[in-house]
């Protein structure tokens, strides 16, 4: 969705916000969790939340709620009786965060389809996804994206939880062997099948390109996500792995938000990628980690805060485990962007990202 001005985008966002708040906090449509929450909180968001600024009245969403509670507490009454997908987040061990859903992923990825070119992802062809499938939303989302473009998709799974465990235990040989195993399978598919579009993580892309000439293998577009991509690394991918001739679409996203697309890089960007949330369905803010009510200045670093606003899922002010640079609205995106996303505290400590 495009907006000509930030004001128009803001107005559209706030109208959507009011609709979503009304939906989740009305007994006729809302979920057990939010109705109970409002009853205990002693205030009615429907009468007090009208603007994005009013979202500050909510505390930060607690990720334990997605771990500890049964998934059915999140079912809006309007969806009652409809089986739902249960999606799990990233690569941690222990009980994962779970988000339920029905159509959101299709909405996100149908919209994203409009942002990738037919030159790089020819319609009515074949895709390959090499990355975390399993219980992740991404698995169905990529297949949907291929499907809406008339294409079908091959899948090679990578279990990021296992990779993280191997790296945490310093079993680097095992981690490498597992990565080789994943890349072997992808190379095999590329050798024997016609594939033009690829979704993978940056590290797996690099490893695959060491094994296979991916241009000669038919790949014309790469859609990437999953880990930190600092400018020099992006440049390396664009110039040396994709050799400036394969389309590169970095994205930032997760099961809780959906998909934040990046704007096409220009020379002035110096390979610094800026992502824009799929507003109005999600809002990304870059906040002061010491005072999260405060949004940092443009071009300053801060912690990423996510608010998800769909009829299927409401999640206010969730503090991601990421930090980023706040960027100004740009191009088709009339709202703030987040750039150079990396794990929160990455400058202070080593964080296991592995291949995911």
């Amino acid at each position: 969705m495009t907006h000509s001005t930030p004001e128009a985008a803001q107005a559209q966002l706030e109208a959507h916000l009011r609709e979503i708040i009304h939906w989740h906090f009305s007994p006729e449509t809302g979920s057990p969790f939010w109705l109970n929450w409002a009853a205990k909180a002693g205030w009615d968001p429907r009468s007090e939340v009208h603007t994005v600024a009013d979202l500050q009245k909510f505390p930060h969403f607690q990720d334990e709620w997605l771990r500890d509670l049964q998934p059915e507490v999140w079912v809006p009454k309007a969806f009652a009786g409809r089986p739902f997908n249960i999606f799990e987040t990233g690569g941690t061990t222990g009980m994962p965060k779970q988000r339920i859903g029905w159509e959101d992923y299709k909405t996100d990825y149908s919209e994203f389809s409009e942002k990738i070119s037919d030159e790089h992802f020819p319609r009515n062809h074949f895709w390959l996804m090499m990355g975390p499938t399993g219980p992740r939303r991404l698995r169905l989302a990529i297949e949907h994206l291929a499907n809406v473009r008339g294409s079908s998709c091959y899948f090679i799974d990578l279990d990021p939880r296992w990779v993280k465990r191997l790296i945490s235990n310093k079993q680097f040989d095992q981690a490498k062997a597992y990565m080789d195993h994943v890349v072997d399978q992808a190379a095999n598919i590329l050798k024997h099948r016609k594939v033009s579009g690829l979704f993978t993580t940056p590290k797996l892309l690099e490893a695959l390109a060491e094994r296979v000439d991916i241009w000669d293998a038919g790949i014309r577009g790469v859609f990437c996500g999953g880990t930190t991509m600092l400018p020099q690394y992006v440049r390396f991918i664009v110039e040396e792995v994709l050799e400036n001739r394969i389309g590169f679409y970095p994205t930032y996203g997760n099961t809780l938000m959906g998909l934040a697309a990046s704007v096409p890089l220009t020379p002035e960007d110096q390979y610094s990628i800026t992502y824009y949330a799929p507003q109005p369905r999600a809002i990304l803010r870059v906040v002061d980690s010491e005072n999260t009510a405060k949004t940092v200045d443009y071009d300053a670093w801060g912690r990423v805060e996510l608010t998800t606003l769909t009829k299927e899922f409401f999640m206010p002010r969730f503090l991601e485990r990421d930090e980023a640079i706040r960027r100004k609205p740009r191009g088709q995106y009339a709202w703030d962007g987040v750039a150079e996303v990396r794990p929160f505290g990455a400058m202070q400590k080593n964080i296991v990202e592995g291949v995911y």
């Binding site: 600092l230 020099q232 390396f236 040396e240």
Partner: protein
Amino acid sequence: MDSLPHLPALRRGKPYESLEKTDVLDHSTGKVVAQVSQVNAGILKKDLQRIGEARAALRKFTVAELVEISSKAGEFFLNGTLPLGDRGHTQSADDYVRTLSGTSGLPHVMVRRNMAKIHYALTHVQTVLNGLTRGLPFDVIDRGYGEQSGAAVSYYPTTQALGLVMPSNSPAVNSLWLPAVALKTPVVIKPGREEPWTPYRLIQAFIAAGAPAEAFGFYPTDHEGAGEVMRICGRALIFGDANTVAQYRDNPKFSVHGPGFSKILIGEDAIDQWPQYIDLMVASISDNGGRSCVNASAVVVPRFGREIAEALAQKLGAMAPLRSDDEGAKLSGFANPKMADYIDGAIEEGLKTPGAEDVTARHRSGGRKVIFEGGTFLQPTIVHCDSFSHPLANREFLCPYASVVEVPEAEMLSVIGPSLVVTAVTKDPAFTSQLLDSPLIERLNLGPISTMKISWDQPHEGNMFEFLYRRRSIERAE
């Protein structure tokens, strides 16, 4: 011209400016003196896929021509004004001395001594190769086969490139890789974070002397990148601590350079004359700021241990930090003050075990760790240990440090452990014979010779020729 020099990566000789750069800082003022482009491991992997081109560029030259180029490079390195980075800067020899001194903490006089060593190594590559190959005619390497002492010989290269993960502590360690160029082996260098200067200047000197630029890779990179240098290059030199040495020692791909644990042993027949050898001990412990693996880190004697420790402490205790341009400067500052903290802490921790005394503490002014004109220094430390099993008896630190331990001569060789250099002051034939038989000693100095003395025609830490070439059996039909 931009005022701050920028050292690009050199990808088979071609400059590459990365979007990620690190600052190189003056060790005393903290001022940024240069920026260095950092590359990721993927770039190394990409480039090393085409390393055969670098080798082909060197193969166009004969060994004799490359020896000549090395010699000219030695002159350029010692005296020349050479390109410094990609922003129009140049570096004279004096600039190099000042800059390296500023960022490493080595006094000018020590940088010059290191320069002289490197210059000697480059201008004597012929001698070095003769020593390493035991007189193999160079055309055998050019052609791949030939004759030596009437026998057919053939040698083949073991690798397309020599990987180097360099330390920051002492510029002269670069002399170890210099023969590789004449042996037609491209080098892939990951410089030490605080010492990019010497490898960069050496590369520029080689290029100025006529060597093909594509034979040189200069890749400032992270831990992962260093791992790729070691993994992909068929042969690599690694510098590290005892753990690193233990990890790679038995792998023929690697030539591992760790702590030397070099020692001075005095035999029963010479111990009564110990005062004569105090200056030898002082020089062996403290030359080059005590930073070399060939610095003595233990003095093992049958008697007079306490007296010797006291005499050494008196002499070394007088050594204090001086300005870096003082010709009398003997101590080196630390580019990374945390390293000084670590060493100071490790010695203090060791002293908690009964049976050791920091004898220098009574003779020096101030503590072991001192701040002088903004730089961090460690003053010399002599620890008297009552047994070689004391945790401080066989340690090596990046400063003038040595233990003095009494051990009966008959037990010395069973307790000293692996030692890069042993200077044994003895004329006793039986003890000499035991020393010559010992597999624990890499280089043996018989008589009062500083542990710091290096013979370039004899390998003291692995043989570069045997590392880079392997002999095969050959027969040719007439």
